[in-house]
């Protein structure tokens, strides 16, 4: 078998194999997209306000300190479930207000504590952001994060 043939065969097997795996990946992504839009997230309540809130989150690069569903920087707490942690499941209006108040009270200036800047958001932007955080808290994250009972 000539060397040239061996090498072009090697290339073809590499391309063919990679294409095979990539095709499966694309197929699964398509199926997952469908799952996300029907079961994984609360697509039905993806309101204008939630979309605007996502914009606030992105424009201010919040993920460069916080994680959301565990992704982002690890300088500040996870916010994918902050709405739940702050009691939004039983008292949505209260959690909504807490998020707004928290944003307004920054930076705390407390010594030795990490500081969050004040982003000078308008009242409407704060509402949108709180709606966004409420919406992501309803995502089916397969049980993540673990919620051990605090002592």
């Amino acid at each position: 078998m000539s060397e040239v043939l061996t090498k072009s065969t090697a290339r073809n097997i590499f391309y063919g194999g990679s294409l095979f795996f990539f095709a499966i990946f694309v197929g699964l992504t398509a199926q997952s997209r469908n799952y996300i839009l029907t079961k994984g997230t609360d697509e039905a309540h993806l309101t204008e306000s939630v979309v605007r809130g996502k914009g606030v989150w992105e424009r201010n690069a919040c993920f460069d300190c916080h994680t959301l569903h565990g992704e982002g920087a690890r300088f500040a707490p996870e916010v994918g479930d902050v709405f739940k942690r702050w009691g939004g499941e039983t008292d949505p209006a209260g959690a909504h207000q807490m998020i707004k108040d928290w944003m307004k009270s920054q930076p705390s200036g407390a010594q030795g504590r990490r500081q969050m800047p004040n982003f000078h958001l308008t009242e409407a932007q704060l509402d949108d952001l709180a709606d966004y955080l409420a919406w992501v808290s309803r995502t089916n994250t397969q049980g993540w994060p673990p919620r051990p009972k605090a002592n």
């Binding site: 061996t6 065969t9 090697a10 063919g16 194999g17 079961k39």
Partner: protein, 209 residues
């Protein structure tokens, strides 16, 4: 393996004395341990990767089952074992034809080789047909990839295997067109691997309980 074609080697770095290829005793253009295997060595890289993937998945199956033996056993009862056995027979016969194709190709008989490859592919299609029939029954009964840990693994492992059958059919088609001994040997090596994986997957998912 043939000699290295010195003319095709580059005259790299004519200006950099340091980079002139030293006459190192590495004219071995073989692929190390992969050279002993029938078919193209890189095909065996693919085969090795696949075996590792299915092996890990089945070990994962054993781990997941250990957490819920009853749930797995109940879900397992829904599988159509007869269809599984039929598919085993189909793949075994198909592998037999593929081996005959390889034998014919090495004897320089391109036309019979193509015939055996076509027979092997036909049985491969039969496998997919039976598998599709099985899937449709299971989905109609309300089982899908999300419905339980057993069915998640069942659909992933058998689905991934079925996609390998599809890829194998494509490969058989390509090597049938070439019909050279090297190509047929490489293509049938992949096909036998698909066969081999089924021989491990089938008892683990259908029979062991």
């Amino acid at each position: 393996m043939g000699k290295v074609d010195r003319d095709r080697l580059p005259h790299h770095c004519r200006m950099n004395a340091a980079d002139t290829p030293a006459p190192v005793a590495t004219a071995d253009s073989d692929w190390g341990p992969l050279s002993a295997l029938p078919g193209h060595p890189l095909m065996w890289v693919l085969i090795g990767s696949e075996l590792a993937v299915f092996g890990l998945a089945l070990l994962g199956y054993a781990g997941a089952r250990a957490r819920d033996p009853l749930g797995f056993a109940l879900a397992q009862d829904n599988l159509d074992r007869l269809a599984g056995v039929a598919n085993t027979a189909l793949l075994l016969a198909s592998g037999f034809f593929a081996a005959l194709a390889n034998r014919a190709a090495h004897a320089g008989e391109a036309a019979p080789a193509r015939g055996w490859l076509a027979a092997a592919a036909l049985l491969g299609l039969g496998f997919l047909g039976v598998k599709g029939f099985e899937y449709s029954g299971e989905i109609a009964a309300g089982h899908d990839i999300d419905s339980s840990p057993f069915f998640t693994l069942y659909f992933l492992v058998t689905g991934f295997h079925a996609l390998h059958v599809v890829l194998g059919l494509i490969i058989l088609g390509i090597v049938a067109r070439l019909a050279t001994p090297a190509a047929v040997e490489t293509g049938t090596a992949f096909w036998h691997m698909v066969d081999l994986i089924w021989l491990v997957v089938f008892p683990c998912l259908y029979l062991m309980r």
